[in-house]
Structure formats: structure tokens, C-alpha cells
């Protein structure tokens, strides 16, 4: 059975096209979820795509978190359903406190669109389980506010509890610190993506959904999208997802 995966559409979302394309390639049935509706239409996985929700004039994601659909997404997440936020979707999840940390303006204070390499930290999570061998994954970033920030204690806890899912890497494979060439935005400790304490909600700044076909330069992102789809199918079948029990507590 094909998993139904919802794509949250805010006014201003613009990577929804990429997300629909990627989910189809990953074998899922994409279901567009309008921002004003609290009806998730029976989806068993949710992808919050990139863009500029509500224009993001104040601060990325700050308005979107108050939308009706996000209330539904929050309860879906609390019930253990898999939620992946990409780029603006990550910013929205962070503003909604569904994942830890915050996304600040890029260190260079300019929008940056380029290919980066990110290394998965754990291969057994709902968002990396289909990636295969652990290696740097090539995919684009495209954002102006992608500098991952959290206080030292939070970062230590994240690393201790396996909350860091992806880090930017340098050409030589080392983790790309804030000032390294492999780090496009100055993210602390090279963090490109994290998940919540329960393990079922994750966000990342790079765009796996735009890197799912070799003709577009890389298909390294497909494993991440397929992981979400497989997790959505598992959640549909069993009401839970393997890999989300390793961590204590239900909230971020």
C-alpha cells in the first residue's frame, strides 16, 4: 500500500512543487494540506516544504506556527507521527518548538544557494533509515536564515541523545564548523538538521527533495525522502515507528 504523505501548503510555500515530485518518485501519494484546514485527510506522514510562508517578512516561520494546520501538525506529532520540515519547514518547526534550536540569518548575511555535503549522524532513524551506507550526501541549500543556533547545554544534550541527524562536511569529509567552507551559513557545530527528543519530528535546511534525480545533479536526497515514506507506511500499519523509542520523553 502506498503511504499518504501530506505536504503543508502555506501562502508563500514554493518548494511544494519539489516536494510533490520527490514524494512521487519515492513511491508515496502526496496530499496537499491547505494552511487554513485542521483536517489532515488521513495522512500518516507530513512534509513541511520550503518557501517563504506568509512572506516571512517578520522572521522566518514566525507567522506560520500560528496557522490552523500547524495545530493539527502538532497533535499529529505528539501522537508519534513522522514529520519532516525542510528549509522554511524547519524554520516553522523550530518556531513552533517542535524541534529544538533556532535558525538565524546566515553568517554572510546573504541568501546562499549552492550544493553542500551533509553527513548523517545516525542511520536508523525515521528520516535516515533508507539512506544506505553512511557517506556525505550532496544536495543544495537555498536560504537566507539557516544558521542553526542553540545554547551550549542544548547542543550538548542534542549530541548526547542522538538529536543531531545531519552535519555539513568539508570536501575532506571533516565536520564543517561555522567558519569552514563546507558550512554555508555558520551553523554551530556544523549542524544541518536535528530531530526532537521523541525522534519522530525532524528538520533540516538543505533540500533533499530537490536532489532526487541524477539529471538534476544529485539523487543523494532520495534516501531521506524515502525514509519519511517508509516511516509513514510503518506508522499507518502499526501506529508507531521503529527508532522513536530510543529516546525518553515525548516533547522537544
Amino acid at each position: 500500500m502506498t503511504a499518504r504523505v501530506g505536504i503543508v501548503l502555506f501562502p508563500g510555500s514554493n518548494r511544494d512543487i519539489d516536494a510533490v515530485n520527490a514524494l512521487r518518485i519515492a513511491g508515496a501519494e502526496p496530499v496537499v494540506l491547505w494552511h487554513e484546514s485542521v483536517d489532515l485527510e488521513g495522512v500518516t506522514g507530513i512534509l513541511i516544504p520550503g518557501g517563504f510562508a506568509y512572506g516571512d517578512y517578520l522572521r522566518a516561520g514566525v507567522i506560520a506556527r500560528f496557522s490552523p494546520v500547524m495545530r493539527a501538525v502538532a497533535s499529529f506529532a505528539a501522537a508519534g507521527g513522522p514529520v519532516l520540515g525542510i528549509c522554511n519547514g524547519f524554520q516553522v518547526l523550530a518556531e513552533a518548538k517542535l524541534v529544538p534550536g533556532a535558525l538565524l540569518r546566515n553568517r554572510g548575511l546573504r541568501f546562499v544557494c549552492r550544493e553542500v555535503a551533509l553527513l548523517p549522524e545516525h542511520m536508523d532513524t525515521p528520516f535516515t533509515r533508507e539512506v544506505g551506507e553512511r557517506r556525505p550526501l550532496r544536495m543544495p541549500v537555498a536560504h537566507g536564515e539557516g544558521c542553526y543556533y542553540a545554547d551550549g547545554a542544548t547542543l550538548d544534550a542534542l549530541e548526547r541523545d542522538g538529536g543531531v541527524l545531519w552535519r555539513y562536511t568539508n570536501p575532506d569529509g571533516s565536520v564543517a564548523g561555522p567558519d569552514d567552507p563546507g558550512n554555508p551559513n555558520g551553523s554551530l557545530r556544523g549542524i544541518a538538521g536535528v530531530r526532537n527528543a521523541a525522534g519522530n519530528v525532524a528538520g533540516l535546511m538543505p533540500h533533499p527533495e530537490t536532489a532526487v534525480e541524477a539529471i538534476l545533479g544529485s539523487d543523494d536526497g532520495l534516501g531521506i525522502i524515502r525514509s519519511l515514506v517508509v516511516s509513514a507506511a510503518e506508522y499507518a500499519a502499526t501506529g508507531r515507528i521503529a527508532g522513536t523509542k530510543q529516546l525518553a520523553g515525548g516533547a522537544a
Binding site: V112, P140, A142, H207, E209, G217
Partner: protein, 789 residues
């Protein structure tokens, strides 16, 4: 504006134009009518100086389904799909307020494309500025680049290509030309024609405010004086979020067949949208001024009618569809209002009620006591607007290009005997106009929508079409430095290079859109340059079989004391039937043959080499043989279709040496080559004579390629072989330079530079020129050109 100055002068109309207006109306115009004429008869809206010239352009093409006169050209690409594309200038607003000028330039051209029913899939931006070391230039570059990115990134349309050129002539008057490309299903094609008397005139999108009052007449149609800041209120302010909603709502309205026609509001605002749609439909309109949503109270009628507030559209809607149209706009959170009715009599009539509560009743009839503020025949404002036949005079000091076959001039400058031509190559690669644009295009989202096969930085952009094997290939090119010497040749070269950049990917060029950036048409020399440019554009398009499907003319590009170099900016979209067959410009493998197709001609004038080394006194730009250019492009397309080509790059800025260096850098490998240099190594290495390609060919295909070239009458030279980490070009012939020649050898010391050194010079040139070093984690102290030698 003092009391003595008559209103029509204040509005930018001449006495002659005022008389013509009296003639059209058979009476004195009132102030509102005068304001409407002033914007519609502006150079920007009426093409009053260029229209007689533009009539000479070839516009017919087998697959052209919408062409000149429409908001954007549309060409069928088969399989029930078509591509819409157009390029437009936003030069003057960008000179006054770079961020908003550039941003609204992107917004305006996107509306032209999706108003035709096409979803915008790509933007290309062609930018030209003055001296990159100048503080004001750096301010303009930074603002324009942020503006293009700020708007394009937010609406979710990738910026996939364009140009960034520096030349002193743009110091006081930068150029911002933006091209947009859209994809549509045949059934979606929508024209801006107000058909069906009784139909509703619906305005949706942002509310109308005071921004952009008289942008078309005050800004775009006059040269800059000294009080530029006073023009800032004439610059519009963009809201890309509103535009994104406008795109989705408009495409839904069209897909659901809810509208008869749609036109975007750009220059001249509501006045333009109403009179142009009415004129195209052979109808008129009752416009209810009171019904137009305002951003602020107290707007004068003329402000409402000519405001250029952004992100607005006018739709012609059958009354039965109104409720559905309102639902769509409301869902997308866009204000929407019925602002008038289509009428049979061809007048645009502006009405207001005494109480300002609405001048039309539910059936579209004027309410009792409604006041008629203006009544103008739609054609008088649009298709029958005033036209001038300007005086044209060639400048006295014009040097004609040499006839084909004229003897090569002795190069009197670099590289001279004993000097390393490799140093010249490094200096060229690091120069502001030839170095990598990465630091600029990384500020643009160039892969949103997941179609970008080849983005900015390495030749033409390639966009796959989902659900097919096809791809669109797009480029912009403009040769201003040659246009300054010979405007006919410069325009012809621009078309040839743009088309060549499409052909070397294997794609078939479909059609041309053009943005003609020239000077004050009331100066005979400036108008001569425009006339010659249009003639060159027409000649090249005919020779290459390309229809012109639309574009835009930007005149008065002059700052006090200086006019820009005539700049014909050419945009071309091509079609690749099988994206898998695409050929790129980077060396693919070691051991392949490197072949030069086409013949080198004399002349260094107008080249980047001449910009660097200074031009010989009696030098002239290389000429072009358009018939040979057409054969060369047909040859390379067939060679690629037959699978004979591994990679291909055209010879343009910086000449053959730069083309070879680019293929090496981008492919991460060198080449061992030998080049006959005739009597001028400078011309052979760095000359920019057109109609030449470098082709990388696998050894087993070399005979077939030479044979195919002979069949097309194209001369080929085998230069050598790819491989190694160094670009080596041995120079052979009388003009060869260097110690070896002094030893009596016919072979000079080779041009020899490592690929790493080439890449270093190329990648650091632009940030060094703009003072952007150290930004965004970019490199440490960079070598000066001398150090590179």
C-alpha cells in the same frame, strides 16, 4: 513645478503632442485625460520613436502562437506544451533605488508571463554597471543583486542565468534587463483582449497606492538630470509574497476557465490595462473610479488611474463567473473588485459618483448623477498613439569594419616577443567581465521547482520539462563594446552568440526576445545607433531563421554628459528533444581530440583583450558572415545529435584561449594543443571573431566529425588532445613569439598554465574587483594580476 509651466509640460508632453491630443479628442483634454495621455504616450508605453523600426523585424514562425504585441511571446514545443518568454528593462528605477528597481523588474516580467497562462519556471538577469572599483557602482551592484534575489527567491522562480558586465559607459546609468520564461499547456493560452460588451472588468491583487506615480513618463522616458532623489517617489515597491499569491490565483482562474482575458498592471497602471485590453478587443470600458481598492485615503483621480502599484491584475469576466472569481481571489487572500464594464462603443470612460460610493449600478449602468471624469477613445491611447519618425545621423568619427578577408593588422600590444601569453590569459580570466560570477548567482535560488539541469555559471541554462524527455535551454547575450563601434555589427553579433550558445548544447533555438537599451532618440546620432541596431537584429534573425516574439525598448539611457554604449540585449530559448543528449562546455575525459571549428578573422577592437591591453589605432572589430554562422550552428547541432561531441564551447569573450581555459577548468583537466598564430598571436589567442567553436571529440569519432564539417563547408583545425593538469598551447607561425623563435625555431615557447592557476584567477576575479573578498568564508588575500604573472 511652478505655476508658469503648463501642465502638459510638467507631465512630460510636448506642445506638438498636446496638439495631437486635441486632434484625437476634437477638444481640449481635461487634466485627468492629459495625465492618462502622458503615461500612455510615453516612450515606454507607446514606442513612439521605435515603432517604425520595430515593424521591420521578422516575427513569423511556424510554431509561434503568440508574438509581438502580446504581453509575452509564446512558442509551441509540441506534446501540447508551449513556452512563453520575454525580456524587459528596469534600468531607470534601478539607478534611483537599486533594490526595489531590480525587484519590481523581476515582478513585472513574471506577470507578463503568467498573464499569458504560463507558470514561470525561470528568470535570467542581464546586469550592466560602471567601474567595479567605484563606491556607487558597488552600492548599485549590491542593491540590484539583492533585489533580484529577494524577489525571485521568494516567489519561487529560479534565477538560472544572465550576465554581469562592467563598462565605464554605464557609470551613470546601469542596465537591469530581466527575462522570464514560463511553461503552459496549449489550452491555457490567454490573451489580453477585452471581448464581450457587458462583461465585468475585475481588478485583483494589491490595493492601489501612491507609489510609482508616472514611472513610465517621469522615469523611463527622460534622461537623468541632477535631482535624481526627487524621482524616488516614482519607483514602485515590490511585494514578492503578494506576487506568489497572484501567480497561484491567476493560474487557477485560467485553468478553471473563469476569465475571458487577463492583463497585468505595469507601466501606466489601470490606464494602460483598461485602454490596451479594450483596444485589442475593439471595445470600450466604463471604469468606476470609486470601486478601485485604495491603500490610503485622499488619492487624486489621476493618481489612481496612473499609479504603478505592483502585484495587480485586470481580468475580463463574464457576470456569471464573478462569484467563482471572487472565491478564488479571496482564498488566495487577494483583494478583488469589479471596477467597470466592457462596452461596445470604443471609449474608455472614467466615472465617479458624487458621494464617491460607486458610479455603476449592479447592471453596470452609471448611477444617477455619476460624473464623467474622462472619456478617451481606447485606440488613441494605445494602437493609434502618436508616432515620430526621428532624425537619424551617423556620427562623424565612425570607423567602418573591414571587409571580410581584409589582412590581419599587426598586433602592437600584448603578447609581445618574449612575454608569456599565459600571463595575459590569467589576467583575462581574472578580469571583471570574464571571471566567475559565483558570488553573485549564489545569492539567487537557481534550483527551486526541481527542473534545473544546468544552472548559472557554465554557459546556457538547461531546464528539464517534467513528464517528458525534453528540456528548454535559455541564454541572454549582448555585445555592447562592438555596438559602440558599429551598432549593426554589435546587434548581429549579439543574436549570433545567443543562438550559438543554445546550439552548442544540441538544442534548436526557437525564437528571440530583445531588450534594446539605447540613448536619447531625439539626438540623431543616438537614434542612428538604435536604427542600425534594429537592422542588425533583423538581419541576424532572418539569416538564422529566428522569429522575434517580443521585447522592450529602453531609450534615454543617458546620464549628464554620457550615453551608454548601445546595448542590444538578446534572449533566446531553445528546445532539446532529449535532455540526455545534452552537451556541456566542460572537457569530459583525457585523450580526446580538441578541434576548432570555424575560421578566425582579424580584428581586436571591442574585445576584452583590447579592454585590457589597449586597442591598436586603426583596428576594427571582427566582422560576421551570417550565412556561415547559420551553417556552423546547423553543423554543431547535427554533430551533437549524431553523438559525435563530448563537449563544446563557443569562442566569444576573451577569445580561443579563454574558451579552452574554461573547458579545462570546468572539466578539471588540461590539454596539449598546438595553434597556428598567423602573424598575430594576440588575434589567434584572444581575438573574438565570431562563428567559431571548440569541440571535444572521442578519437573514434574524429574522422566522422571532420567529414560532417566538410559537408557543411565548415573549416576545422585539430588543435591537440585533452589530458594532464596543465593547459599547454604551442604557438606556431611567423607571428609566434618567444625565445624559441629567436633561436630560429618556427615554434614558440608554449602558453603553459596549470588548471589550478587558471581556476584561481577565474574564481577570485570578481570578488577582488568588487571588494567582496573575505565575505561568506571566501579566500584570504588574493594575488594581484602582476603576482599572477
Amino acid at each position: 513645478m511652478t505655476a508658469e509651466v503648463p501642465l502638459h509640460i510638467v507631465l512630460g508632453l510636448t506642445d506638438e503632442e498636446l496638439d495631437a491630443i486635441r486632434g484625437k479628442l476634437s477638444r481640449e483634454p481635461n487634466d485627468l485625460e492629459l495625465a492618462m495621455f502622458s503615461v500612455m504616450w510615453s516612450e515606454h508605453c507607446s514606442y513612439k520613436s521605435s515603432r517604425p523600426l520595430l515593424k521591420t523585424l521578422p516575427t513569423k514562425g511556424r510554431d509561434v502562437v503568440a508574438g509581438v504585441g502580446e504581453q509575452a511571446g509564446v512558442i509551441s514545443i509540441g506534446g501540447g506544451l508551449a513556452v512563453a518568454f520575454k525580456i524587459e528593462s528596469h534600468n531607470h528605477p534601478s539607478a534611483v533605488e537599486p533594490y526595489q528597481g531590480a525587484a519590481t523588474g523581476v515582478g513585472g516580467i513574471l506577470r507578463d508571463v503568467f498573464a499569458m497562462g504560463a507558470r514561470p519556471i525561470a528568470v535570467l538577469d542581464a546586469l550592466r554597471f560602471g567601474n567595479p572599483a567605484d563606491a556607487r557602482t558597488r552600492h548599485l551592484v549590491d542593491g540590484v543583486v539583492r533585489g533580484v534575489g529577494g524577489y525571485g527567491n521568494c516567489v519561487g522562480v529560479p534565477t538560472v542565468g544572465g550576465e554581469l558586465v562592467f563598462d565605464p559607459s554605464y557609470q551613470g546609468n546601469p542596465l537591469v534587463n530581466v527575462m522570464a520564461i514560463g511553461l503552459l499547456e496549449d489550452g491555457m493560452l490567454t490573451r489580453a483582449s477585452a471581448d464581450g460588451p457587458g462583461n465585468l472588468v475585475v481588478l485583483y491583487g494589491s490595493a492601489t497606492g501612491r507609489d510609482g506615480i508616472g514611472g513610465a513618463s517621469v522615469l523611463a522616458s527622460a534622461t537623468f538630470g541632477d535631482q535624481d532623489p526627487s524621482k524616488r517617489p516614482s519607483v514602485q515597491v515590490g511585494d514578492p509574497f503578494a506576487e506568489k499569491l497572484l501567480i497561484e490565483a491567476t493560474l487557477e482562474l485560467i485553468a478553471r476557465r473563469l476569465v475571458v482575458s487577463i492583463q497585468d498592471l505595469g507601466a501606466a497602471g489601470i490606464t494602460c490595462a483598461t485602454c490596451e485590453t479594450a483596444d485589442r478587443g475593439g471595445t470600450g470600458m466604463l471604469v468606476d473610479l470609486d470601486a478601485i481598492p485604495r491603500r490610503e485615503p485622499g488619492l487624486e483621480p489621476f493618481e489612481v488611474m496612473i499609479s504603478e502599484s505592483q502585484e495587480r491584475m485586470v481580468a475580463i469576466v463574464e457576470p456569471s463567473r464573478w462569484e467563482a472569481v471572487r472565491e478564488v481571489c479571496t482564498r488566495w487572500e487577494l483583494p478583488v473588485a469589479i471596477i467597470g464594464r466592457v462596452t461596445a462603443e470604443p471609449d474608455v470612460v472614467v466615472l465617479t459618483a458624487p458621494d464617491g460610493a460607486g458610479a455603476l449600478d449592479a447592471d453596470g449602468r452609471p448611477v444617477p448623477g455619476a460624473v464623467e471624469l474622462a472619456r478617451i477613445p481606447a485606440p488613441a491611447l494605445a494602437s493609434e498613439a502618436i508616432v515620430f519618425n526621428r532624425e537619424s545621423r551617423a556620427p562623424a568619427r565612425r570607423r567602418a569594419a573591414p571587409a571580410p578577408g581584409a589582412p590581419a593588422e599587426q598586433s602592437d600590444s600584448l603578447p609581445v616577443r618574449g612575454q608569456d601569453p599565459g600571463a595575459v590569459l590569467l589576467a583575462l580570466l581574472g578580469s571583471p567581465n570574464l571571471s566567475s560570477r559565483r558570488q553573485v548567482y549564489e545569492q539567487y535560488d537557481h534550483n527551486v521547482q526541481a527542473n534545473t539541469v544546468a544552472g548559472p555559471g557554465h554557459g546556457a541554462a538547461v531546464l528539464r520539462i517534467k513528464g517528458t524527455t525534453k528540456a528548454l535551454v535559455a541564454t541572454t547575450d549582448g555585445n555592447a563594446s562592438v555596438s559602440q563601434l558599429d551598432p549593426w555589427l554589435g546587434a548581429a553579433l549579439s543574436v549570433a552568440e545567443a543562438s550559438r550558445n543554445i546550439s552548442i548544447t544540441g538544442a534548436r533555438p526557437l525564437g528571440v526576445t530583445n531588450c534594446l537599451n539605447y540613448g536619447d532618440p531625439t539626438r540623431p546620432e543616438a537614434f542612428w545607433a538604435l536604427a542600425e541596431g534594429v537592422r542588425g537584429l533583423a538581419d541576424a534573425c532572418v539569416a538564422l531563421g529566428l522569429p522575434v516574439t517580443g521585447g522592450n525598448v529602453s531609450l534615454y539611457n543617458e546620464a549628464p554628459g554620457s550615453a551608454i554604449a548601445p546595448t542590444p540585449e538578446i534572449g533566446i530559448v531553445g528546445l532539446l528533444d532529449d535532455v540526455a543528449s545534452r552537451v556541456g562546455p566542460a572537457f569530459c575525459a583525457d585523450g580526446n581530440a580538441v578541434i576548432l571549428a570555424g575560421e578566425s578573422g582579424p580584428g581586436l577592437a571591442g574585445s576584452e583583450y583590447a579592454r585590457l591591453a589597449g586597442r591598436a589605432q586603426e583596428d576594427a572589430p571582427p566582422v560576421i558572415d551570417l550565412e556561415r554562422e547559420a551553417r556552423l550552428q546547423a553543423f554543431v547541432r547535427e554533430a551533437i545529435a549524431r553523438g559525435l561531441v563530448e563537449s563544446c564551447q563557443d569562442v566569444s569573450g576573451g577569445g580561443l584561449a579563454v574558451a579552452l581555459a574554461e573547458m579545462g577548468m570546468w572539466g578539471g583537466r588540461g590539454a596539449q594543443l598546438r595553434l597556428g598564430v598567423g602573424d598575430s598571436p594576440a588575434v589567434a589567442l584572444f581575438g573574438e571573431s565570431p562563428s567559431r567553436l571548440v569541440v571535444e571529440v572521442a578519437p573514434r569519432h574524429v574522422p566522422a566529425l571532420h567529414l560532417l564539417a566538410r559537408q557543411y563547408g565548415i573549416h576545422t583545425d585539430a588543435l591537440g588532445t585533452t589530458g594532464g593538469s596543465t593547459l599547454v598551447i604551442e604557438l606556431a607561425g611567423e607571428g609566434a613569439t618567444g625565445a624559441a623563435e629567436e633561436r630560429g625555431s618556427r615554434i614558440a615557447d608554449a602558453l603553459q598554465v596549470s588548471v589550478d592557476d587558471l581556476r584561481h584567477a577565474w574564481e577570485h576575479g570578481l570578488p577582488r574587483a568588487l571588494g567582496w573578498e573575505g565575505e561568506d568564508g571566501e579566500g584570504a588575500a588574493l594575488p594581484r594580476p602582476e603576482a599572477a604573472r
